[in-house]
C-alpha cells in the first residue's frame, strides 16, 4: 500500500472519519481527536510505519497536514 494511502487509513480507522474529511482534520476539531484519541492515533501511526516518535513530535502532531511534515522527518515519503 502506498505511504499516503496508509497514512490516510490510519486516520480513517482511528477516528472513524471519511476520506473527504481528512484535509481539515486537526486536534480537537472532532470529538474523537481528544488526548486519548491522539495517543491511539500515535500508536497506530507508529505501528503502521514501524517507527517510534520523539515526544516533541507527538506533541506537535496537531493536524492531518502537520503530521505529514513530521513523518518526513522519519524518512517516510508521503
Amino acid at each position: 500500500m502506498p505511504n499516503l494511502e496508509l497514512y490516510n487509513q490510519v486516520f480513517i480507522e482511528s477516528f472513524k472519519v471519511k476520506s473527504d474529511q481528512l484535509d481539515t482534520l486537526a486536534y480537537q476539531s472532532i470529538s474523537a481527536w481528544d488526548s486519548v484519541g491522539h495517543m491511539v492515533l500515535i500508536a497506530t501511526m507508529e505501528e503502521a510505519f514501524s517507527l517510534l516518535f520523539d515526544t516533541n513530535d507527538i506533541i506537535d502532531f496537531s493536524s492531518y497536514e502537520t503530521g505529514k511534515q513530521i513523518l518526513r522527518k522519519y524518512n517516510v515519503d508521503l
Binding site: E46, E47, S50, L51, L52, D54, T55
Partner: protein, 251 residues
C-alpha cells in the same frame, strides 16, 4: 507431562542486569522461559553470562547495552527489540543508583543524577514501552522501588525521595494504562544481600538485622520471584500495587 514455564515466550526488557537484583531477575526470567533482553551500561560486560544462560535455559538472553539516561540509545534499543520480536510483554525497571547520607550532607548534584536515573529514565521507558504494549492491549510493567520509599529511613532521605516517586508514578501509570490492559506494579525490597549493599551493611546496618522479622537479609532471588509473579499471567488482575518483599522489616 511437560510443565509450562511461567513466562514462556514472553518478551522482556530488564534494565540494570549487570549484577545484584537485576541479574537475579534476568536469570529467573530465563529459567521461566522468557525471551530476555538484558540491559547493562558497559558494552560487552554481560555477553558471556547471556550466552551461558541462553543455552542453560533453552531460551534467548540477549544483551542490550545502553545507559537508561541516554534517551536516544534507549529508544533505539527498544526499536531493535520490536524489529526482532514485534512486541514487548514485560518491562522491568530495575536500573538505579543509591546513596547514603544524612540530610545535612546531601550533595545536590548527586541527588539530581539519582532522580535522573531512578525516576526520569524510568518514566521515559514506561512512556515508550507502553505505546508498544498498547498495540497488543496487554503488558506488565514492574518498577523496583524500596521499603525506604514506603516508610522513609534516617540516612537515606535523597534515595527515599526517588523511591517514593517510583511508588506514585507506578500508581498513576497503572490508572492511565489499565484501559489498555497494561498492568503497572512496583516491588519494594527490604534490605537485600547484594554485593553493593554488603559492605555498607557490614559497616553501618548490621544492628538493623533485629529490625527484620525473619532475621535475615533478602536474597536477590526473593525479589526476582516476586517479579516473576508480577510478570506472569498469575497476576493478570493485579495493577497499581506496591508489593513489599522485606521479610517483615520495621524501619
Amino acid at each position: 507431562m511437560s510443565i509450562k514455564r511461567l513466562l514462556e515466550n514472553k518478551v522482556c526488557l530488564i534494565t540494570g542486569t549487570s549484577r545484584g537484583i537485576g541479574r537475579a531477575i534476568a536469570e529467573r526470567y530465563a529459567e521461566e522461559g522468557a525471551i530476555v533482553y538484558a540491559n547493562a551500561r558497559k558494552t560487552g560486560s554481560i555477553d558471556e553470562w547471556a550466552k551461558e544462560y541462553s543455552l542453560k535455559n533453552q531460551t534467548l538472553v540477549s544483551p542490550v547495552y545502553f545507559d537508561v539516561t541516554d534517551y536516544v540509545a534507549a529508544k533505539q534499543s527498544v526499536m531493535q527489540i520490536i524489529k526482532e520480536q514485534q512486541r514487548i510483554d514485560i518491562l522491568v525497571n530495575n536500573a538505579g543508583v543509591v546513596t547514603y547520607e544524612l540530610l545535612g550532607l546531601i550533595n545536590f548534584e548527586n541527588l539530581r543524577n539519582m532522580l535522573e536515573v531512578n525516576v526520569i529514565a524510568m518514566i521515559h521507558l514506561i512512556q515508550i514501552v507502553s505505546r508498544i504494549m498498547s498495540r497488543k492491549e496487554k503488558g506488565s510493567i514492574i518498577n523496583i522501588s524500596s521499603i525506604v520509599g514506603v516508610e522513609g529511613v534516617k540516612g537515606q532521605l535523597a534515595y527515599s525521595a526517588t523511591k517514593g516517586a517510583v511508588i506514585s508514578l507506578t500508581k498513576s501509570a497503572a490508572k492511565e494504562l489499565s484501559s489498555k490492559n497494561i498492568r503497572v506494579n512496583a516491588v519494594a525490597p527490604g534490605m537485600v544481600d547484594t554485593e553493593r549493599f554488603h559492605d555498607v551493611f557490614e559497616k553501618s546496618f548490621k544492628e538493623r538485622l533485629s529490625d527484620i522479622g525473619m532475621g535475615r537479609l533478602a536474597k536477590t532471588s526473593d525479589i526476582a520471584n516476586a517479579c516473576v509473579f508480577l510478570g506472569s499471567d498469575l497476576s493478570d488482575y493485579i495493577s497499581g500495587q506496591i508489593l513489599g518483599v522485606d521479610g517483615c522489616t520495621i524501619l
